[in-house]
């Protein structure tokens, strides 16, 4: 394969929004994305991430979906891959810095809802929470949605030491050996829709909060030992803060604390861990976690 073929296939798999991309360091860059941009990524001159959603059939569509397993849990990634395999969908596992990405490529544009729900179904089949399934929105409104960093940075210069696809033996695959396989194994819209339609949507109701007068120190004493440790020590090294907050919310629910008490604990933890508390939408994000932990009604 020459470089042009490589880039062409790479673009066909990972294409997305053409007027903006995500920088490697984090943040949105409003600039045109062309085949040259992808080549620059593979050459290591400009590493970037792609926003998957593009206008499609009056809504939004994409050609790829990706579940970000942000911890070192290859078993879960393999489980997800097997779940797709059992529904005749080929999924690919990328080794990322902290964990794994599980990718599925569509043979043509599919509605964002279809891609997202197909992933959510597969997560339900393996009983593994879908924390970061991209596309993260079925409709991003006026925003761009979220981007995902591309694999194989600088691969054309030297084999990538991070962000590469894994073969069945958990060994790294070079871009040129993986690409033809990925292009051939793309999934039809009909197949994805069939799986997406199985998704059982969970209804969440935002819990009503009471006034909490007790101190956080007193409230945390009602929680279990593991909740206390999470609250006190924060995320494990290498784990992300939002996951820890999310896990803490569910633990507090299981411990029998009220939603109001859980909010107090989460806010206290967040102030120390510095994830949301300075963000304008910080409270909203924490309430989403509380709602997810306390408000499931299906």
């Amino acid at each position: 394969m020459d470089h042009l073929d490589v880039v062409e296939d790479f673009v066909s798999l990972f294409r997305g929004r053409g007027d903006a991309y995500g920088s490697w360091e984090g943040g949105c860059v409003r600039s045109a994305v062309s085949p040259q941009t992808f080549l620059d990524h593979l050459n290591g001159e400009l590493l970037f991430g792609v926003y998957p959603l593009v206008p499609f059939e009056g809504e939004f569509g994409c050609v790829w979906g990706c579940s970000d397993i942000d911890v070192d849990d290859l078993d879960s990634a393999r489980n997800l891959q097997t779940a797709f395999f059992l529904k005749s969908i080929t999924a690919h596992i990328e080794k990322t810095v902290k964990g794994y990405h599980v990718w599925v490529f569509a043979s043509d544009l599919v509605p964002a809802a279809t891609m997202r729900r197909a992933f959510l179904s597969a997560h339900q089949a393996i009983n593994y929470i879908a924390k970061e399934v991209n596309p993260k929105q079925e409709n991003p409104g006026t925003g761009f949605g979220n981007y995902v960093r591309l694999p194989y940075p600088s691969e054309l210069k030297s084999p990538s030491e991070i962000r590469y696809m894994l073969d069945d033996n958990d060994k790294p695959m070079s871009l040129t050996s993986w690409l033809p396989f990925a292009v051939q194994s793309r999934t039809s819209r009909a197949r994805l829709e069939e799986v997406a339609n199985m998704y059982v949507q969970v209804q969440y109701v935002t819990p009503v909060l009471d006034v909490v007068t007790e101190s956080v120190k007193k409230i945390i004493k009602k929680a279990s030992a593991i909740s206390f440790v999470i609250w006190r020590d924060g995320p494990y090294p290498g784990a992300d803060r939002s996951s820890a907050l999310y896990k803490l919310a569910h633990r507090l629910h299981d411990d029998g604390l009220t939603a109001s008490e859980a909010v107090a604990i989460l806010k206290n933890a967040d102030e120390r861990w510095g994830k949301y508390h300075l963000r304008a939408d910080g409270e909203e994000e924490l309430m989403k976690m509380i709602t997810h932990a306390y408000g499931a009604t299906t």
């Binding site: 879960s76 393999r78 339900q124 007193k218 206390f228 569910h250 932990a293």
Partner: protein
């Protein structure tokens, strides 16, 4: 999560196809009792990293092996009646003045508890304290107040009958008063708990109480007459009708003098029937030992479920007869009170 077999994932898909409720969280399940074994790792990490949440006896040899009584655990202090259990307990209280402690002690009025604590903590002779308070000595009265208000401000004593509902109420009241639950709940003694007909049932109730509130529990327990009545060495089966099975650790308290007195009584009866020199020698030796152990109290660790912890054989303490204070005796060391007594009696002859 663990690697699943394709068959398990097929089952998972079947559930999704049936529209079964999806999981609400990665760890949350509908199980109420089951928890993965791995959660024990978290509990252990918490235990190991929070030694300050445990309560220590203040007795080095025991603390080294027990490494404290942790929240949810129950430790028992076992001994014969009048064998020094409450004295050892009061000694522990003096070692934990910074802890918030709820003491349930129905057979001892709180005035007596305060008086004993005053004597132990300040090294005051109980007779002298009583005399001076009787004489309206303001300093002595002030000492009592100081002990209650300044030296033991975090000690709540409940001398009412031990009904479960009252225990819950008292627990709630002190938690409310202190703004947090007690660091330790003490029950003196198990047989007085009015929950259940049998001793094991009472112990079970207390253990459940401790676990429900996630607090360390210290329970005093009177041994059966046959095994501990004469101050003989205590064993695992010394608990009256059981109850000790529920404990994480079992501390034995005894007065060796009772064992010696018992043997002397037996020997005297024997000597009346057949007098031998060997028996007479033994009797003389016991008379000497009785003088020594008039001032001792002995502790042992008879059960210890702490991994890596050992049992502890008799550790002898000198018991200050006047104040109730106890001091650890080094191996071979004789009690000061015995030595003073001997010296006082021998002095006239030596001059």
């Amino acid at each position: 999560m663990p690697r699943l077999s394709p068959e398990e994932i097929v089952e998972g898909w079947k559930k999704v196809e049936r529209g079964d409720s999806p999981p609400s969280s990665p760890t949350s399940t509908n199980y109420r009792l089951y928890e993965p074994l791995s959660s024990a790792a978290d509990s252990y990490v918490h235990w190991a990293q929070t030694p300050h949440e445990r309560v220590y006896t203040g007795i080095t040899a025991l603390d080294k092996q027990m490494r404290g009584i942790a929240p949810g655990e129950m430790s028992m202090l076992v001994g014969h009646s009048h064998g020094g259990k409450t004295l050892v307990l009061l000694h522990m209280l003096t070692q934990n003045r910074n802890k918030k402690i709820a003491l349930f002690i129905p057979d001892e009025p709180k005035t007596l508890v305060l008086t004993k604590l005053t004597c132990i903590h300040h090294g005051v002779d109980a007779n002298e304290l009583e005399y001076r308070v009787g004489q309206d000595d303001s300093a002595a009265i002030q000492l009592l107040r100081q002990t209650a208000e300044e030296d033991f401000p975090n000690l709540a004593v409940f001398d009412q009958p031990l009904l479960p509902s009252d225990m819950e109420r008292a627990y709630g009241e002190v938690s409310d008063l202190w703004g947090e639950p007690p660091d330790l709940v003490v029950v003196d003694y198990l047989e007085l708990v009015e929950a259940g007909e049998t001793v094991p049932a009472k112990a079970q109730f207390l253990k459940a109480f401790g676990r429900r509130h996630n607090i360390p529990l210290l329970v005093l327990h009177q041994t059966s007459r046959t095994s501990g009545a004469d101050g003989r060495k205590l064993t695992m089966s010394s608990g009256a009708y059981g109850g000790e099975q529920q404990a994480t650790s079992l501390i034995g308290v005894r007065r060796k003098k009772y064992e010696i007195m018992s043997e002397m009584t037996e020997l005297l009866e024997n000597l009346d029937r057949s007098h031998t020199e060997r028996k007479q020698d033994r009797f003389d030796m016991l008379r000497y030992e009785l003088k020594v152990h008039e001032y001792t109290i002995s502790l042992s660790l008879m059960k210890n479920k702490r991994p890596g912890g050992s049992l502890v054989d008799d550790v002898d303490f000198e018991l200050d007869i006047n104040t109730g204070r106890i001091y650890e005796l080094k191996s071979g060391e004789l009690p000061d009170q015995y030595l003073k007594n001997v010296a006082w009696k021998e002095q006239p002859e030596s001059f």
